[in-house]
Symmetry: C2
Subunit: 403 residues, 2 copies
């Protein structure tokens, strides 16, 4: 038999969302007294914006006629989409990002999972705690960790996010890292980082030579004008940061699949011998070798997000989820639970007053509400519960009335 | 700066298709006397089957209504598609493959590129020569090779495909490998493997403990009933083979993006200590961690391939390309060029009678026809030219008339 990558065997087998699903299935089998309301997983519930549906339908029709048929597109994405992204998401916010620094993909999960491939096998990595599990698991698979103990892998540096630091960890000064994952607005806590906090991270990265892997999948939820949408709003970030974005939450594309990664051309890494290497060229090589571009109709749907109608429809979509988040946070606070998130974010991170899984079970069995236990995201999540605002206003109102 | 994966720096920088594109651009700038006909890259030209377009359009409309909207689907693919695949592509051909052994993805390029991640860093790999470059490059990126010299990477075993063996290499008996890539109908040669030849490979794999990574992306072109469509038509293959399939050539999905990989549940690898590990579980972990499923409308389009209309339309599509291939081969043979492929395959692999790039330039500048120089696929491709049948019958007829 072939020799296997034994790093996979270090992976903790119980994955958070499958354990949640198992407990919900088990409870459902007992015939609960009323409908279960799901405020757990971060999946959107509202239909695609009409502008996206129309653009996608037109593109599908194009594929059915020889004169307009398209086969392989550029692996990096069509120029029409890369240019719309550069213009609206970056230049309009004062960020100096060119279309050819944008790599269109089928998901930010894929990109945040794949990007670590460009780093050395012994690269030193820092991750937040609580954390989106993909950052951790993909580094485990790549062999950058030892075994797990008490939910943490040896060899990874966990940056604790807690009440004391307002769920925004400070840079670990005096330590050297190759890369750090940051996610703002944060999944799972919903915390946002101020301009000064991001600037401190960029300054630290420039000093210690680390790469910032900045996950901005939830940036569309930011309504406070003082909060940066992109790491590139911070001076000096181009040289030290890669940014991941997604249409999943911005435009309800969780089942449609489109995202992108920004790799500035002057963002460098180095060989062990100290030679500088541009990450842009390496990512381009990876993207063209292991990926073959996003479905053409999907790219047309994503382009439509930037039309005037698309912009208005996406804003309305997110306004709806933000109103849900606000209602959830207000209710939880009225019941005495300290909360973070729920403003500029679809997630409310609430102090449970009991262990996370106990709170999860109590909410499920007592109120027929599915949440996500914070402990599933890491040691610092213990004692917290994540509520997701992705649902209709009526359903969220009913859930809150049950509490 | 972050420490980089230095294996990427071993990659040969001149990629075949970009060099072809560069030469074509350069020649185009000289204002050629007539339109350039492209028989180079293996991209389809004919529109999507009507059944696929209709199914996709219906699914797009579903995403626009709350009652029928779908967010995240199962990462492995929707049951409706996995079941249709298992039924039509395997059970109907006598292959014992279950729906939950099928992993739907966005491309066979991605899957053939990613699967090597499950193998140990020091796994010993064999690849054909000539070869689809993705098999090689992804193993270089993973650090399984030394530097390249004369177009071959140290540490990889190249299985020579040539006139002597009819372009189907024999198993390298007496040597131990962890994995071998096989592709039939072959890209680039168009050669097919008989049942006896595949049985010899399966027997060899079972004896020496190697895993067969079987790329069957072109199986839909097989019309000779004696040639197996799947490695699983060979007894004993389930334990030692993974198979890659794609809708790209079967149904014109190169720009629509859908493919799948079959990982039988009893296909095992082993740890260095000799413990058996099922690849199915590992691939499932990779797929769910680094991938988030194929776009829902695309999966509906793929499902339609298996409807009676879809089957008839795909067959007609491929019949057209096969007629082109036959015409190309007949013309080249009439001019005295020995050929392989062009039957049961969209590719004709022709002996050029001169170095590959000389023939490429002569065809481009003398006849305004773009081909692919065989030397770009490996040392054994030198002296050959690949003609692709992916074009309209009229265009192929005009190209042949020019010769």
């Amino acid at each position: 038999m072939a020799l296997v990558n034994e790093n996979y065997l270090k992976l903790q087998s119980s994955y958070l969302f499958s354990e949640v699903a198992r407990r919900v299935r088990e409870y459902e089998a007992t015939k609960p007294p009323r409908k279960i309301i799901r405020l757990g997983i971060g999946d959107v519930t509202e239909p695609l914006p009409a502008a996206c549906v129309e653009a996608m339908a037109r593109a599908v029709a194009e594929l059915g006629r020889r004169e307009t048929f398209r086969g392989y597109g550029p692996e990096q994405g069509y120029a029409f989409l890369r240019e719309a992204i550069a213009e609206h998401d970056f230049k309009a916010h004062g960020c100096d990002i060119e279309a050819d620094e944008i790599f269109v993909s089928d998901g930010a999960k894929c990109d945040t999972g794949n990007f670590q491939e460009l780093l050395a096998a012994d690269a030193k990595i820092a991750v937040p705690d609580p954390v989106y599990p993909v950052y951790v698991d993909t580094n485990v698979m790549a062999g950058r960790t030892g075994a797990a103990e008490d939910g943490r892998y040896a060899g990874l540096r966990y940056l604790e996010s807690n009440k004391e630091n307002g769920f925004v960890p400070e840079p670990p000064r005096g330590e050297r890292f190759d890369a750090v994952y940051l996610c703002f607005p944060n999944n799972p806590t919903g915390a946002t980082a101020t301009r000064a906090q991001l600037a401190a991270w960029v300054e630290w990265a420039r000093d210690c030579g680390a790469l910032i892997l900045f996950d901005a999948a939830y940036e569309a939820f930011i309504r406070n004008e003082a909060i940066p949408h992109s790491i590139y709003e911070i001076e000096g970030a181009r040289e030290v940061a890669v940014e991941f974005r997604s249409f999943s939450k911005t435009a309800g594309f969780t089942g449609t699949r489109c995202a992108f990664t920004v790799v500035p051309k002057n963002c460098m890494a180095r060989t062990a011998a100290g030679e500088a290497v541009a990450l842009h060229g390496l990512w381009n090589r990876r993207h063209t070798t292991k990926f073959n571009g996003v479905s053409y109709p999907v790219q047309r749907a994503a382009e439509a997000v930037y039309s005037p109608e698309g912009q208005a429809q996406c804003r309305a979509l997110i306004d709806g989820y933000l109103a849900n988040a606000k209602a959830i946070r207000a209710k939880l606070e009225s019941l005495g639970h300290a909360c973070v998130g729920g403003e500029n974010s679809p997630y409310v991170w609430a102090q449970a007053g009991e262990p996370s899984w106990d709170a999860f079970d109590r909410l499920l069995r007592g109120h027929q509400i599915v949440t996500t236990p914070g402990a599933g995201f890491g040691r610092c999540g213990e004692g917290y519960i994540r509520f997701s605002a992705f649902n209709s206003p009526e359903t969220v109102a009913e859930a809150m009335a049950r509490l």
